[in-house]
């Protein structure tokens, strides 16, 4: 397979399908062969759906030959995170607790993607129940980062991050409660969107939390994210990617600049340059006073811990050792929270989430780092509760229900991707995608490919 097929995204691959220089069957076969060849290194794919994908690809080609193209996703091979159900396929959430379970129905978002003509070729590996970590004691080993297989991809949509970055699918759909789309997208050099709360149907997704969490796209560009989002929601965000950000008001969260939140100096530098690129494109920086990210982070963490424990309580009491080490610890910690802790977190989420949305009275988007370092080694990522050290810069936008896009904006001294995060008021998903698309029109970070040519 020529490299150019491996790295096709939705927009450029769709153009080749449309002009007849590529068929969906050839594209799908090429990616299936590449997965067979490379995934023993990257461990991205929990279930390879070869027969399902080839049938869908052949059907897409027949329809196109008959003059019936369904839209931009018609015949495009993509992957989905394992917790997203596909009728007839295994769904284990990468946990021994669910090993052997087969989905009887497809998630509503999968139904919509398939109606749009997408070819689902793989279910991707992930952290256990979207909450564990890169444990080596799970049914499927942790995904490895295509930019350096000794580094983690982040999670929990870890396999999706590895697969898109390694050229094993055109794009993927992950899920994100505390940052599970955005962290692996940041660590793997992808564009990834946590959509506005409630925008993408949650039905048919194995839940982590009942208050938080969205499914969303992980892709090679903001434009490709928009194609996936539109197919899953019926929105027309692609039509709004004009790239004009003249006069756009940007608020820059100062946490990584003033040391409120630690960040690698390379991240600070890359973020500063990214903001500069946006201002050169016509945006203007406006000073803002958002709520404290530590407060918003506290709400999200406590709600996730409590709801995750409640969801898994019977199994944790009956047989805790069925969970992997990191997942077991994280799920169990919620047992020690009081009802009052949970209720206060819900009250504060409503208060501080509303306060965060009010910031958007004064600005169109907020910009901060997608992650505060490049991807760490597996050793550094294996602590069960390393996550209590400082706040995630992603959780505040989850708690506020805001759309948040991460987009690559540089590299650290080890050659690992760095990213910025662009967020807007709940419901303004097209705005963050448009800003991301404009940034990617003026820069080439999203076009960089990991050094895996020798594999």
């Amino acid at each position: 397979m020529s490299d150019d097929i491996a790295w096709l995204g939705i927009a450029d691959g769709g153009r080749r399908l449309a002009d007849g220089t590529l068929t969906s069957t050839d594209w799908t076969e090429a990616l299936l062969a590449r997965i067979e060849r490379l995934d023993k290194v990257f461990c991205s794919t929990l279930t390879l759906l070869s027969d399902h994908a080839l049938r869908a690809a052949e059907a897409a080609d027949r329809e196109r030959a008959a003059g019936k193209a369904r839209g931009p996703l018609h015949g495009v091979p993509i992957g989905i995170k394992d917790v997203i159900e596909l009728a007839g396929a295994p769904v284990s959430a990468n946990s021994a607790v669910l090993t052997g379970r087969i989905s009887t129905h497809s998630a509503e978002l999968v139904t919509r993607l398939e109606k749009a003509g997408a070819v689902i070729l793989a279910k991707h590996g992930q952290y256990e129940f979207s909450y564990g970590g890169p444990s080596f004691d799970l049914p499927w080993p942790p995904a490895r980062n295509p930019w350096n297989p000794e580094r983690t991809t982040g999670g929990s949509s870890s396999g999706s991050g590895a697969a898109v970055a390694a050229g094993l699918c055109a794009a993927a759909v992950g899920t994100d409660a505390g940052g599970s789309i955005r962290q692996p997208s940041a660590y793997c050099g992808l564009s990834g969107l946590k959509p506005s709360a409630g925008l993408v149907p949650r039905e048919g997704i194995v839940p982590l939390s009942f208050s938080l969490g969205e499914a969303g796209p992980m892709a090679r560009s903001a434009e490709d994210c928009a194609y996936l989002l539109d197919a899953m929601t019926g929105l027309s965000t692609v039509q709004q990617l004009g790239g004009n950000i003249e006069g756009l008001r940007i608020g820059v969260l100062q946490d990584v600049f003033n040391g409120h939140v630690f960040a690698d100096p390379a991240v600070v530098s890359a973020l500063r340059q990214a903001v500069q690129a946006l201002t050169e494109a016509g945006a203007r920086v406006v000073e803002v006073k958002p709520p404290d990210v530590y407060d918003l982070d506290a709400c999200g963490r406590v709600i996730l811990l409590a709801e995750a424990y409640a969801n898994h309580e019977p199994q944790l009491k009956a047989d805790p050792m069925k969970y992997g080490r990191i997942g077991r610890h994280r799920f169990l910690l919620g047992a020690f929270l009081s009802a009052a802790d949970y209720v206060q977190a819900q009250r504060q989420m409503a208060i501080w989430g509303a306060e965060m949305n009010r910031v958007f009275d004064d600005v169109d988007v907020l910009v901060t780092a997608g992650e505060v370092t490049g991807a760490p080694t597996f050793g550094k990522a294996s602590a069960s509760f390393g996550f209590t050290g400082q706040p995630s810069l992603r959780m505040p936008f989850t708690v506020a229900g805001c759309p948040a896009l991460v987009a690559p904006c540089g590299f650290d001294s080890d050659g690992m991707p760095l990213s910025m995060q662009i967020a807007a008021r709940r419901g303004n998903d097209a705005t963050v995608l448009n800003v991301g698309a404009r940034f990617q029109k003026d820069t080439n970070w999203h076009r960089c490919k990991p050094p895996i040519g020798g594999l």
């Binding site: 805790p320 610890h329 929270l337 802790d341 509760f385 400082q390 229900g401």
Partner: protein
């Protein structure tokens, strides 16, 4: 409001009293946990405390919050 630095949070060794307290709570909750797991959970519980303190700030009795931004 202060936070432990990332390298320290959740990594300090819990005291014997803290371990005993957590062991009793786990038993009362019906959880049967290995000592290794209890130790990690005690560290995690310690690291979580600053977050819980934040959640109790500024709420008045009877204060009704607005509708959550994440509700569908």
């Amino acid at each position: 409001m202060t936070h432990k630095p990332a390298s320290a949070a959740g990594s300090s060794m819990p005291s014997a009293d803290e371990m005993d307290a957590l062991r009793r709570r786990a038993k009362a909750l019906g959880l049967s946990l290995a000592e290794d797991d209890l130790l990690i959970l005690a560290q995690g519980w310690s690291g979580l405390q600053p977050f819980l303190v934040r959640l109790r700030r500024g709420l008045e009795v009877g204060q009704r919050p607005p509708v959550s931004a994440t509700s569908q």
